[in-house]
């Protein structure tokens, strides 16, 4: 009995004195990084972290930055790589940086131009503090650091605002992991959301610098920006790239009298090869369900003939618009739709001869867009109220 008690005591002493105390970190010793920014610097890289101040957040239930002081800090440092910069930041911090909960990485346009982005990926894959599931965005014009510094009228943090903005606008699959997958696969090129910072008047008293979605950057094989699509065309590209955006569309009716507006849900896309020997002909089929939201024409949507006609017309219009966008992307070169990946999967041996110079070969592919949009509902009204 005595021996047992002794043993228990000794074990407990060793247990408590070794593991527990060497590594104990309380939550109040951690600095939660919610967003990070990567900027160009003469020495290499400038890393900025947006860190929440928990005491400010918990008291402020209403949200927004109505109080005088901000509820976050942005700390930045330069270095040859991310880790060096991180260490410099850490030295100036009273808490340990905790990157596990990061939501977003913002990279400035300048950094895209002057550096090889793929070098950033290694840290994300190697260091277990990262999980590659954060969003990556590009900041057009200004510095990515400024994006973090700005506050947002609705949210605590600009990163949370950007993340929510993308989420509610149906932009999925823009995580760092997707970026890496697109970069590593030979048959598709990455598409990166672009934000820019604009001065906007939020109320009578003040104007604020707020970041909004500007469009989508189309990157080539070396992750250099080939062009930036605006948000309308960009979300069409994202739809056709299988990255699911939802958008509404407003089309003028045939007789030029009034317009029809639709909201799309359940966006899907598929790539088919045309039947026959010519592999260069591709059919890009997009699917969606449309809800008629606004109707300023004289059509009575309760009439079944009208529904069918509107549906047909809608498909024609969408076809025209998407086809133009596809042609534009093809002119630029990078295959953001993953058509090469379709070839890779369908005709792997044929693909082997094409993949070497895919940027050029992609331009010669004959891509036909084939929309298949079905009107799901015309809402709760038949004819326009006159």
């Amino acid at each position: 009995m005595n021996r047992h008690a002794m043993l228990t005591c000794i074990t407990l002493i060793i247990l408590l004195s070794s593991t527990g105390c060497a590594d104990i970190i309380e939550p109040n010793q951690l600095a939660f990084v919610i967003g990070s920014a990567i900027d160009h610097d003469e020495n290499g890289i400038e890393v900025s972290h947006q860190i929440v101040i928990p005491s400010k957040i918990s008291g402020n239930v209403k949200g927004g930055s109505s109080s005088d002081s901000e509820n976050f800090v942005v700390i930045s440092a330069t270095g040859k790589d991310i880790f060096e910069a991180n260490m410099k930041i850490q030295r100036r911090m009273s808490r340990r940086l905790m990157e596990n909960h990061r939501m977003l990485i913002a990279i400035s346009e300048e950094y895209f131009e002057k550096h090889d982005i793929s070098k950033l990926f290694d840290k994300l894959n190697r260091d277990p503090a990262n999980n590659l599931s954060n969003i990556s965005i590009m900041i057009k014009g200004g510095r990515a650091k400024d994006f973090l510094m700005n506050d947002h009228p609705l949210e605590h943090l600009s990163t949370i605002a950007a993340q929510k903005e993308m989420d509610f606008n149906g932009m999925k699959n823009f995580s760092s992991r997707q970026l890496v997958i697109d970069y590593l696969s030979e048959g598709s090129r990455p598409l990166v959301p672009v934000f820019n910072i604009k001065e906007s008047k939020v109320n009578n008293k003040e104007t604020k610098q707020i970041a909004f979605l500007f469009g989508f950057a189309i990157l080539d094989k070396n992750l250099k920006v080939k062009g930036i699509m605006d948000d309308v065309e960009g979300s069409e590209v994202a739809w056709m790239a299988g990255k699911e955006t939802f958008q509404g569309v407003t089309i003028p009716w045939k007789d030029g009298n009034g317009t029809l507006s639709f909201k799309f849900t359940q966006l899907k896309r598929q790539i088919y090869s045309n039947k026959g020997d010519d592999k260069n002909r591709i059919i890009l089929s997009v699917k969606a369900q449309a809800y008629l939201i606004e109707n300023t024409t004289s059509l009575d949507m309760f009439e079944v003939d009208n529904i069918i006609e509107v549906q047909k017309y809608l498909n024609e219009q969408i076809q025209k618009e998407l086809q133009e966008t596809v042609d534009k992307v093809q002119e630029w070169g990078p295959d953001v739709f993953g058509i090469g990946e379709h070839f890779h999967r369908k005709y792997p041996y044929w693909w082997k001869s094409k993949k070497g110079n895919w940027e050029e070969n992609f331009k010669e592919i004959d891509v036909k867009v084939k929309p298949n949009i079905r009107i799901r509902s015309f809402g709760t009204g038949g004819e326009r109220l006159k």
């Binding site: 593991t19 060497a22 590594d23 894959n125 999980n131 997958i181 890779h344």
Partner: protein
């Protein structure tokens, strides 16, 4: 010391899944990219076959452990030499798992805690369980840990359905070709399931029939898990990333995001993995020290277990200094000699000799 078939099932499935979860997926993915699941399937089938042959051998020598029946069949000298290969194998396996354990704990959870401490605690447990009843205690533990461990590993595969894109495994075969697929198998199958331990454990089985059923089922469960895991990893990350992830099963837990709320569940995963590692280490330690005691003729196998543990501790600490020894998963001596010998050649040889003997016996009776 007796083990039931039910306990053997959990023992085998835990120790096989522990091996599976560590390096083989990376080794296969590196060679055959999106076809690595074929490599794994072939490797798993080979290992199932090996298990079956080993079971046959065990059934022929029901009342002896590996050390004794090798001596019987091949003669004292040759038998003793052959057994040393298994000793080396188990020792290597233990050192892989022990090193993986500390590396992981240090990397993810306990950055500051010295490696020796983590090892000491684990080895203390291992030695403790030896003194508390040897294989009986271990199998009781595995009976308790097993359901949680196996369930956890299976469930975590299905926690990120929104990330899955099945198309990523296409094109099948065209990119890699048989050569690379088989090369992937060759590098990885040795680290997949773990059939060799049954050569020792079968002797302790209470009912040989239920025991062999349990062993086969346990291996099958682990193999199925391995193939599904490989598929899920390719579905989620595509072939190029999975080839670069050293411990893909761990990385998989990092991708889990349930309703954008439950994330970073890797801490749970590691905890369960440590439980499994404990079972694996103690099983290996038990059979190694029991085998050594029969091999040397010393009766006190518990003392041998202590000494072996010390050796293992020293070896693992040494490998952290001499990195070359620590990371030789593709070592040609292991892959070309030790593994095939222990898994395929010796069991086949034993089975053939055993069958011929049995045949003679029956014919001489007639």
């Amino acid at each position: 010391m007796k083990v039931t078939g039910y306990q053997l099932f959990w023992l085998i499935s835990i120790s096989s899944m522990i091996m599976f979860s560590y390096v083989p997926i990376k080794l296969a993915a590196e060679q055959s990219h999106q076809d690595c699941w074929i490599s794994m399937l072939i490797g798993g089938t080979i290992m199932m076959g090996v298990t079956w042959i080993m079971l046959k051998v065990c059934m022929q020598n029901k009342d002896k452990t590996l050390v004794n029946f090798l001596k019987d069949i091949l003669g004292t000298v040759l038998g003793k030499i052959c057994v040393t290969f298994y000793f080396i194998l188990w020792f290597v396996q233990m050192s892989i798992i022990a090193r993986g354990l500390v590396e992981f704990q240090n990397l993810v959870l306990l950055h500051e805690t010295p490696l020796t401490f983590i090892l000491l605690f684990m080895f203390f447990l291992v030695v403790y369980v030896m003194f508390k009843g040897g294989i009986t205690a271990i199998s009781r533990c595995s009976e308790v840990i097993g359901p949680f461990f196996v369930l956890m590993l299976y469930v975590q595969l299905f926690l990120s359905p929104q990330e899955v894109e099945v198309n990523r495994i296409l094109p099948i075969y065209a990119d890699s070709g048989w050569l690379h697929i088989l090369k992937g198998t060759l590098y990885s199958f040795n680290y997949m399931v773990d059939p060799s331990i049954i050569l020792m454990l079968f002797f302790f089985a209470e009912n040989k029939r239920t025991a062999s059923r349990g062993i086969l089922l346990g291996t099958a469960i682990a193999m199925l898990w391995g193939v599904i895991t490989t598929l899920v990893i390719v579905f989620i990350t595509g072939p190029n990333i999975s080839a670069e992830m050293v411990i893909p099963v761990y990385s998989l837990t990092k991708f889990v995001s349930i309703l954008d709320f439950i994330q970073n569940i890797d801490a749970f995963y590691i905890t369960f993995w440590v439980f499994g590692a404990f079972i694996k280490l103690s099983v290996c330690m038990f059979i190694l020290s029991y085998g050594l005691s029969e091999w040397t003729g010393l009766k006190n196998w518990k003392l041998i277990a202590c000494i072996t543990t010390l050796c293992l501790l020293a070896f693992v600490i040494y490998t952290t200094y001499d990195i070359r020894i620590g990371y030789e998963y593709k070592n040609i001596i292991f892959i070309g000699f030790l593994y095939p010998l222990a898994y395929i050649i010796i069991p086949l040889l034993l089975w053939m000799i055993g069958s011929i003997r049995n045949h003679r016996k029956t014919s001489s009776i007639n």
